[in-house]
């Protein structure tokens, strides 16, 4: 079975301007974040990805569970003044039938990537800005369900001074994205 294991528990994640951060998570799920550039100019935009890893044997509901009473995975951003987050794209879930379910459930297993775009207002001053994001989810395995939980990650977005050119990073992740 190709399941990607979760890693250690850290309380906060700061994604540095280089665009890389170590995964952090609670119990059976971890989240890390990546950015497409090491910075953004005022008035510009860059892309980001939340990489959510679910431990082997566990699943979380996808962002669009078929049953509205199930708790879907959601990323909730709290951008500081001068930044905004738009176009949050969730992957489609895998439909899977479990021992306890008569019907398939739309879930995420292994690693999934949630994409988003960050825009900086033209008036945003150069500097590093903390962009908190809460990824909420609810996990079950074949014989137990856990309470809904959320992992907070804090992404550092660097707004560049005028004339500075942002450097593309994490091309493997963002290359080929239609809105690049």
């Amino acid at each position: 079975m190709r399941i990607i294991a979760a890693t250690g528990i850290v309380l906060f994640l700061f994604v540095p301007p280089t665009g890389n951060g170590q995964p952090q998570g609670k119990e059976h799920v971890s989240v890390s974040a990546k950015l497409s550039q090491d910075g953004v100019q005022g008035g510009g935009e860059l892309r980001g990805a939340l990489i959510m890893t679910v431990a082997g044997g566990w699943h979380v509901n996808s962002a669009t569970p078929a049953d509205e009473n199930l708790i879907g995975t959601a990323a909730s951003f709290s951008p500081p003044a001068g930044l905004s987050v738009v176009q949050v794209q969730y992957p489609g879930g895998t439909s899977k039938k479990f021992a306890f379910s008569e019907e398939p459930v739309s879930v995420y297993e292994g690693t999934v990537v949630i994409l988003f775009k960050i825009t900086a207002l033209p008036s945003t001053s150069p500097g590093d800005y903390a962009l908190p994001v809460d990824v909420s989810y609810q996990a079950c395995n074949n014989d137990i369900c856990l309470p809904p939980a959320a992992i907070r990650a804090v992404i550092t977005v660097r707004v560049l001074s005028s004339g500075a050119v942002p450097v593309h990073v994490n091309d493997e992740l963002f290359n080929g994205n239609s809105d690049k």
């Binding site: 190709r2 990607i4 294991a5 979760a6 890693t7 170590q22 995964p23 890390s32 990546k34 990805a49 990489i51 890893t53 669009t64 078929a66 049953d67 509205e68 009473n69 199930l70 708790i71 879907g72 794209q89 992957p91 489609g92 879930g93 895998t94 439909s95 039938k97 021992a99 306890f100 379910s101 008569e102 019907e103 398939p104 739309s106 297993e109 292994g110 690693t111 999934v112 990537v113 949630i114 994409l115 809460d134 909420s136 609810q138 079950c140 074949n142 014989d143 137990i144 369900c145 856990l146 309470p147 939980a149 959320a150 994490n170 493997e172 992740l173 963002f174 290359n175 994205n177 239609s178």
Partner: protein, 665 residues
Amino acid sequence: MRRSLMFLPLLLALFVTRVNAQSDTAAFRSAMAVRQTQERISALRQFVAQFPQSMLRAGGYNALFALYVDQGDESRALDAATHYLGLVPPGARMNTYNQFAYALAGKNIGLDSALVYAELAESMARGGGSGTLGPILDTHAFVLFRKGDAAAAEKLQEEAMRGHEDDPEYLGHLALYQEKNGKRRQALSTASRAVYLGGDREMKSRFLEWLALEEKGEKSREALMQSIVLQTVHSSIDTLSGPAAVAAKSNAAAFMARFSVDLPAAQKYAEAAAQSLSKDSPVEDAVTFRQNLALVTAARGNLREALEMLRSIEDFASPWSTDFWTALGEIYRRLGDPGKAIAAYMNGLTVLNPKELRDSLESVYKTVHGSTAGLDADLERVKESGAEFDPGRYSPGGPGSGKAILAELFTGAECGPCVAADMAFDALGEYFPRTDLLMLEYHVHIPGPDPLTTDDSWSRYQMYRAGGTPTAVIDGREKIVGGGPRFIAHNRFNLYRYAIQKYVGEAPGMSLAIDVARLHESITVTARVGKGGAGGNASGCVLHVALVQRSVDYTGANGISRHAMVVRKLFGGPGGTSLTNPAADQTLRTSLDLAEVDAGIRDLLRDPKGRSSWPGPKRLFNGWRPHPESVDRTNLTVVAWIQDPATNAVLQSAYQDVPAGMRAD
């Protein structure tokens, strides 16, 4: 059994009616529910064509891919994969590439595409940082191996192993590549460790096959096997101490038994573990240690003795334990009782479908019935017997001690795995008289909103640090986490009963008698507390009193429509009433008003997100299913118990049904 499971088609119909009878969701769910493979494929194809804008199309293509791979239909599988990937943003494809690559390689089809997918996944993972690379490399290595490049596979697998050194699947793959590359001794050591860590029977077969190739002579082959197996054992247990060492030696004993290596030492390890068991040992340890001792005993040729050991724990053995059911079936088979062998194998196939167990079953079934024509129907009957069973009646076999055990269950109407636990609690209620066992079910919002939840229930959940739903707590002392589908209700019942019976017959830590009076909407409970047979000390202990509805009709996603012994309110809140005078008998009085209980329920239903029982403030809430908004005055019971907050042990419990009369005593 009192509790009834609504048939899911009905539940689905209700849901669909509530949302939209013609929605893509309904169409998708309906297509996925088709049982016959070819018909499901047709339904899914129709769904993706009919709803070109639906977000669920990705799920449709994903399901089609899996079905086509299963059929070995390479071109259709790849076509479905292409469609699926077209619906997934490029940056979100890593896991999909990985899953597709592994599925194709596993079936040995579409290997060129599998390699492309594996390379793409690896490329994304290397850019994606730690935590994701191991499984991606493991898949890539497996694809390379399937394509005939074992050298590259081994090299890549060594990198994949970082952080996965104890994963039997990774070890199994590495052993495969090592052997193919002519490093058979290394492969044998790796395979031995894979088996020790829980690798499948195929791994053991490979180990024996390679051993036979490495050493032709019987004696030298035996010597080599002993050396490798013991090296694996000692490298795993020598550094451990305390309870961890006891458990590890028990597992090592079972491992040694599998290869018939140094069985006297294995017996010693297994016996030591079994002898370490006490009344306070978790039931899971009791089952595992005895199971491992039985495996060693069987390996030593004492089949009847081993059979007795396995039978002594058969009722409690996990349906997920392939080892147990394989061993039991194998012993019956060797003792010439194929009928019981079939039953044992089938019990191991109720929730899982391990190939080796299915093969063993088919082989014996064919011997008995001439073919496997009726096997699946028989298997369904075995599954049903795990859901529909007569729990019987408890027979104490002597005068009771006067102790009433308290069994508490944390459950949720949206929780699929809670079905078996809920049904098992119903059966406990039939099996034990209320003088011996009192039950409470606390509903919590796990995994979804449950209108039977109360803030008090959530406080109890947190107090016990319950591990999710379902979690049962027996007399405050033993926590049993986990449940499963309805087919394992009988197993859960047996497990809970085993844990309960450990405490039945104990002298109560304190004495407790309650008197319940009702005047209109007011319920008053008078509790008389005194020292019990065990000479309990009241100081520091807490009296808890619960208002319980014996039966509540409500249907959540798990299909259970009637819930038993639901806690609606704790008198005086979750903190209860502290007992302060250890020297004297005490009389305590507590009361509540049913109209206020109803008002509290309605408050919670109106704004569940504003309550302490709502886990996670950012959770969306999409409204309730049809639900009761008040307590039913006609089927109320009061359950009281004294609990030591330091240990959580329950010293005594008592109950009384709430009278329907209008006069106070």
